[in-house]
Symmetry: C2
Subunit: 313 residues, 2 copies
């Protein structure tokens, strides 16, 4: 039986890579540059070369390596076809077939948000559960869904694209996706800043936020923790919108646990407690006890999850 | 290889049963009474007796029967545990274990709405697809989700409980589930009647609906087909609410097709066309081409689906 797996997380500027035991211990991690020029044609060969180097330098035997998992920033179908990765310059491409040819080991591909969810299930905030929904509150809102230990890909590679659930019909500003009123417009880091701007404009309530030149999501949560009333209102609004959306999602896939990650999740329990409160209000009774946890792997979730994906393929 | 499967659909008053070939041809169907007295303790023995009679009368050899699938009106976990069936008088019970003991064949259990979705996939409106969401617009709104040909059970047996997605925060009336603003309150047969009442009260627009003593959902769709303006507005409101909810669901599980069934779906293309229009408006771009179809099996969806479930277990 093989002892090692590689996890690869391809981003627009760097590729993160990790060598793991099949039990989930991270033995080594490193990064290489993502060369996106020429339609990103060097990305996979660079990854293959880097993995081969590690295999040689560590003198790993062929039969000791189970394979390579890879997460990419775009929609991926269950058969390994990437539909488009704008950030990498890729069009339609079967990443599994291409990388297998280059490297000679089995390859499993997934969307980066779905792969991160798998990582949090394996060794992070969702450990011990095999049905989870991960929500990543960063610049945007990403989502990943794991059912019975497997990623939910979706027919168009859009499984778990929960950031683009429409939550407000009356929104006038447009989301990056082209629609109006997406979850991402209220609950991402950028979304919290937008809510803050609206809240400050809508009232003349005193707030430490008004003293700042530019408000960040972190400022809002810090001010809320310090008891600033306006900031508490903004956090409450974000939590209501997110908690309601998660209750809608629970009516669809009914998971054991929600894992909240991304930059905004650094706010900690003030965020999860408020989201959980609204979730319980809006949830169908059978799902009301669904657990909440913070993500634990940070930027390593992608390498953990891609490594895990090759084990469960 | 076995040639036959039995499908059983347990309702509050009758149990529908069918004998199928493994290829999906319905050879015979019949019903027995659901004896709900004494905590429903006769329900499974009655089913076992009825199946045994058919096996004897048709002289089926033991090895010719693959097994029995059963759909029940309540939440079912993937291991066959029914959490509660109020209509049958059941508490927590492993239906698969119990019925297997009585009958000597493998048994697969599922929630009735999920099983109906599987039936529509096998031989109905979703034939040829293995990732679908079925929406049943009846007295309530039921939902069933099939991913890669398998039912999505959910950790609490609440997978696909889409009728209880909260779609309106400002609702003042309470849904049967205890929450306010559930999808079911607007898009079920009862929901359409409620919308009609509100629309008639909100305007003094002329309408043939005003001439009726009591308006039904069918009346609303019939009037809309005849060009009645107020009825068209009601249909449009229902379609907007349902289309938006289905777009939210597509962001979660990203299916190939939505299959619309239940009494309200008899309205036909006026319903699916309007729902599809709003779905496309609200959907994430990658999911915008998701197909729509009407259910085809009517009340037989349950026996088809339960029979199918034992094949794919």
């Amino acid at each position: 039986m093989a002892k090692y797996v590689f996890g690869v997380d391809v981003g627009g500027t760097t590729v993160k890579m990790g060598l793991f035991t099949v039990e989930g211990e991270l033995l080594d991690k490193w990064e290489i540059k993502t060369r996106t020029e020429d339609g990103g044609k060097n990305v996979l060969p660079d990854i293959a070369d880097s993995i081969k180097e590690v295999i040689e330098s560590k003198k790993l035997a062929k039969e000791d390596v189970e394979g390579v998992g890879i997460g990419v920033p775009g929609p991926v179908k269950e058969d390994g076809t990437v539909l488009k990765c704008v950030n990498l310059g890729w069009g339609i491409l079967n990443v599994e077939d291409e990388l297998e040819k280059l490297i000679g080991y089995p390859v499993k591909a997934g969307n980066d948000a779905n792969v991160a969810a798998l990582g949090e299930m394996w060794q992070g905030g969702g450990k011990g559960h095999s049905n989870l929904v991960m929500v990543t509150l960063g610049t945007g809102v990403g989502g990943g869904i794991i059912l019975n230990g497997k990623m939910l890909f979706g027919v168009n590679g859009a499984g778990g694209e929960i950031g683009h659930i429409c939550v407000d019909d009356s929104e006038t500003e447009t989301c990056g996706c082209g629609n109006k009123g997406c979850l991402e417009q209220y609950t991402s880091a950028t979304g919290v800043v937008r809510l803050a701007g609206r809240a400050m404009a809508a009232s003349d309530k005193k707030s430490t936020l008004r003293e700042l030149e530019a408000v960040t999501a972190k400022d809002v949560f810090d001010a809320a923790k310090a008891g600033d009333e306006l900031a508490l209102e903004i956090v409450d609004t974000q939590a209501r919108i997110l908690g309601r959306a998660l209750a809608q999602i629970a009516c669809v896939v009914d998971p054991e646990i929600f894992v909240i990650g991304g930059g905004v999740s650094k706010a900690g329990s003030i965020l999860t407690d408020s989201v959980k409160k609204y979730f319980e209000h809006y949830a169908f009774h059978a799902c009301r006890q669904t657990k909440f946890a913070l993500a634990q792997l940070g930027n390593d979730a992608g390498i953990y999850g891609s490594a895990c994906s090759i084990l469960g393929r």
